[in-house]
C-alpha cells in the first residue's frame, strides 16, 4: 500500500445498500494523486454508484470517504458545493450538456456561475478549453446537433473549465465507435499528463482502459476482487479477475440469475 | 435582442395584470379612489330585520353613505340590533332621525334608509336610532290585507 498523503481519495470500510441489494460490503479504495485509476467490473456492480459516492451525491450506510483528508460526509452542504466547484469534475455517460444552451454557453456556464470574470476573459478560457477537445469550430451548435462522441467531448471541455484537481469519467467509452474511443483515450491521458490531474475512469472496456490506467480496481459482488497495475492484474490468479479480464461467460459471476433448481422449477409448473 | 423581446413580453404581461386589477377595482367593484376614509358607528333596533344582511347598504335619499357591519339580537327586547358604519362626513343626523328597512324592487336586496329629523342635537358615534320602521314581511302584509277584506 502506498503512502497515505499520495492518495487524493481514501475510502475505508465502505458499505452501501440499495433496498435489500448490497452494492458495497466493507470495500476499501485508494486513489493515487496525479494518476489514472480505473474502476472496472461487470455491469451493475456499483461502479457508477462509487462515483456518486465520491461526488457526495449519495451517502454510504457506513464507512468513510476522505478527499484530501476531509471526510465528505461531515461537510456542510455549502462546503460540499465548494469542494465540487473547486476540486472535482465529473464527466457523465450521456455528456449531460444543458440542452437549452449552445456548446459555447455550456462551457462558459461554470465560469459565469462561479467567477466574475469579464466577458472577454470568459471567451478566451472557453475557446482554449474547446480547442483542447477539438470543438472550437462547433461552439455555436446546440447539443442536439452534436454526435454522441462530440457531446461527450463538449462536456469534457465544460468539466475542465474550472481546472479541477480530479476528474471522474463515467463510462467514457460506452457506445463509441473505434475512432471516438481512440480520441477519448487520447484526451484522458493527455489531460492527465499535461494538467497533472487525477483521473478516475469507470469502464468495462478492458483494452482501452488498460492502455491508459496506472492502477486498476476490479470490483465484483460488493468487494474489491483485484487491484494493481494492469500487467499484474492480467496475471492475477483470482478466478473472478480472470473471468472478467478474459470475458468468460461463466465463472464466479454465474451465467444464470439466481433461481431455484431447474428440474424442480419445470416440474413445479405442472403440479400447480 | 432575444432577451429584450423576452423582457418586453414580460413587461407587457405585468402591465396587463396591473390594468386588470385597476379595472376590477374601479369598474367592477365600483371602488372609489377616496375609499378607506373615516367612519363612525350608529345602531338601530328593529322589531324585524327580515332579510337584511351584513354589507347591506345604508342610504339617505337613495345615496349610499355606509354599510351594515353587524346584526345581533337584543335579548331583553327581542329586537334585532343593526350596527352601521357611516362615512364620517355625514355626521349631521339629528337624534330624531328615523331608520327603515326597505327593499330595492319587489324581490331585490334589503337596505336601510335613514330619514333625518328636525331636532337640534346630532347623533354621535355609538348612539342608537330609536325611531325605526321594520322590514315589510310579505306574509304579514298579505295576512293584513285578507283580514281587512274580511272585515269589510
Amino acid at each position: 500500500m502506498t503512502d497515505e498523503s499520495d492518495n487524493i481519495i481514501v475510502i475505508r470500510d465502505l458499505c452501501f445498500k440499495r433496498g435489500e441489494h448490497v452494492i458495497f460490503d466493507h470495500a476499501d479504495f485508494d486513489i493515487p494523486r496525479g494518476k489514472v485509476t480505473a474502476i472496472m467490473g461487470p455491469s451493475g456492480c456499483g461502479k457508477t454508484t462509487l462515483l456518486r459516492l465520491i461526488g457526495g451525491q449519495l451517502k454510504p450506510d457506513s464507512g468513510s470517504i476522505l478527499f484530501d483528508g476531509q471526510d465528505l460526509f461531515k461537510l456542510s452542504r455549502n462546503d460540499l458545493y465548494e469542494l465540487r466547484r473547486t476540486k472535482m469534475g465529473m464527466l457523465f455517460q450521456s455528456g449531460a450538456l444543458f440542452t437549452n444552451l449552445s456548446v459555447y454557453e455550456n462551457v462558459a456556464f461554470p465560469l459565469r456561475e462561479h467567477t466574475n470574470l469579464p466577458e472577454a476573459m470568459i471567451r478566451d478560457i472557453v475557446l482554449i478549453k474547446l480547442q483542447a477537445v477539438g470543438l472550437r469550430g462547433a461552439r455555436d451548435l446546440m447539443p442536439n446537433e452534436l454526435s454522441g462522441g462530440m457531446n461527450r467531448r463538449a462536456a469534457l471541455a465544460r468539466t475542465i473549465a474550472l481546472d479541477p484537481e480530479m476528474i471522474m469519467y463515467d463510462e467514457p467509452f460506452a457506445g463509441q465507435d473505434p475512432i471516438g474511443m481512440g480520441v477519448l483515450t487520447e484526451l484522458i491521458s493527455l489531460l492527465n499528463k499535461s494538467l497533472g490531474l487525477t483521473s478516475i475512469v469507470v469502464s468495462h472496456d478492458i483494452h482501452e482502459t488498460a492502455s491508459i490506467a496506472d492502477k486498476i480496481y476490479v470490483i465484483a459482488q460488493g468487494k474489491v476482487a483485484g487491484e494493481g497495475v494492469p500487467e499484474r492484474l492480467m496475471e492475477d490468479n483470482s478466478q473472478l479477475v480472470q473471468q472478467f479480464m478474459n470475458g468468460l461467460p461463466d465463472g464466479p459471476i454465474p451465467f444464470h440469475y439466481p433461481a431455484q433448481d431447474y428440474f424442480d422449477d419445470m416440474m413445479g409448473s405442472i403440479e400447480s | 435582442m432575444q432577451i429584450r423581446m423576452l423582457e418586453a413580453g414580460v413587461g407587457l404581461f405585468m402591465l396587463a395584470g396591473i390594468i386588470s386589477l385597476t379595472v376590477l377595482a374601479l369598474n367592477v367593484s365600483g371602488l372609489t379612489l377616496s375609499s378607506g376614509q373615516e367612519t363612525y358607528t350608529l345602531y338601530a333596533a328593529f322589531e324585524n330585520i327580515g332579510g337584511l344582511t351584513k354589507r347591506s347598504k345604508v342610504t339617505v335619499a337613495g345615496v349610499t353613505i355606509g354599510r351594515v357591519t353587524d346584526i345581533t339580537l337584543d335579548k331583553n327586547r327581542f329586537a334585532g340590533v343593526v350596527e352601521m358604519e357611516i362615512q364620517a362626513e355625514y355626521n349631521e343626523f339629528t337624534t330624531d332621525s328615523t331608520a327603515a328597512i326597505l327593499t330595492a324592487g319587489l324581490l331585490g336586496e334589503k337596505y336601510i334608509g335613514i330619514v333625518p329629523g328636525a331636532d337640534e342635537e346630532f347623533l354621535k358615534d355609538g348612539e342608537v336610532i330609536n325611531d325605526t320602521q321594520s322590514a315589510i314581511v310579505l306574509e304579514e302584509l298579505i295576512g293584513r290585507f285578507l283580514f281587512n277584506k274580511a272585515n269589510n
Binding site: 459565469r112 | 404581461f13 386589477l21 367592477v28
Partner: protein
Amino acid sequence: MIERLRILGRSGLDILAIQGRSAIFVVQSLYGIPSFRKGGRLLMEQLYAVGVLSLPIIVVSGMFIGMVLSLQGYTILVKFGAEQSVGQMLSLSLVRELGPVVTALLFAGRAGSSLTAEIGLMKATEQLTSMEMLGVDPLRYVIAPRLLAGFITMPILMLIFNVVGIWGGYLVAVDWLDIYEGSFWANMQSATSFDEDVMNGIIKSIVFAFVIAWIAVFQGYDAKPTSEGIGVATTKTVVYSSLAVLGLDFVLTAIMFGDF
C-alpha cells in the same frame, strides 16, 4: 389480515415520507430564492415561459366562460324578471369562484405539466446531477426561479381572466341580449366589494399558485429518470393539482364566505 394491515401501514408511511421530502424540498428551494445570483435573467425567462405563454389559453377561455355565464344567467333570470342583475351574477361568479379556480386548472394543465416535464427531462438526461457536480445547486438555479415565476404569474393571469370574462359577458348581455348598460354596471358595482370579493379571489389565487407550482416542480424533481417516469409525473401533476385546487377552493370558500 396482518399482511393487509402491514401493507396499509407501509403505504401510509410512504405517503408521509413523500410529504416530508416534498416539504423539505420546497423549503430548501424557497431558501434559494433570495440568493440566486444573476437570477434576474433566469426569472425573466421563466416568467415568460410560465406566464406570457399561458396568456392565449387564459384569454380565450376567459372570454368564452364570461359569454356563457351571461347567456345562462340571462335565460334563468329572465324568468323572474330580474335579467338586469346579470352583471351582478357575472361578476360575483367570476371574481369569487371561476376566475381563481378555472385559471388554476388551466395553469396546471398548461404551465404545471410543462414545468414537470422539463425538470423531469433535465433529471433523466443527468443535467441536474451534472449541475450539482459543477458546484451549482439545481434547487437554486433551476427550481427556485420556476417556483417564483409560478407564484407571480398565476394571480396576474387570474386578474386578466376575470377582466376578459367580464368583458365577454358584457358583450353578450349588453350588445346581444339588450340589457340596459347602466344597470349592468350599476348592479355589478353595488354587489361586488373590492375588499371581500376581489381580494378574496386574489388570495385564493395566490394559494392555488403556491400549491400548483410546488406540486409541479416537486413531481418533476422526484420523477423516475425514464421517459415513462416523466409521463407518469406529468399526469400526476395535473391530477394532484386539480384535486388540490378544487379541495382547497371549498375550504377557502367556507372560510371566506361561509359567514360562521
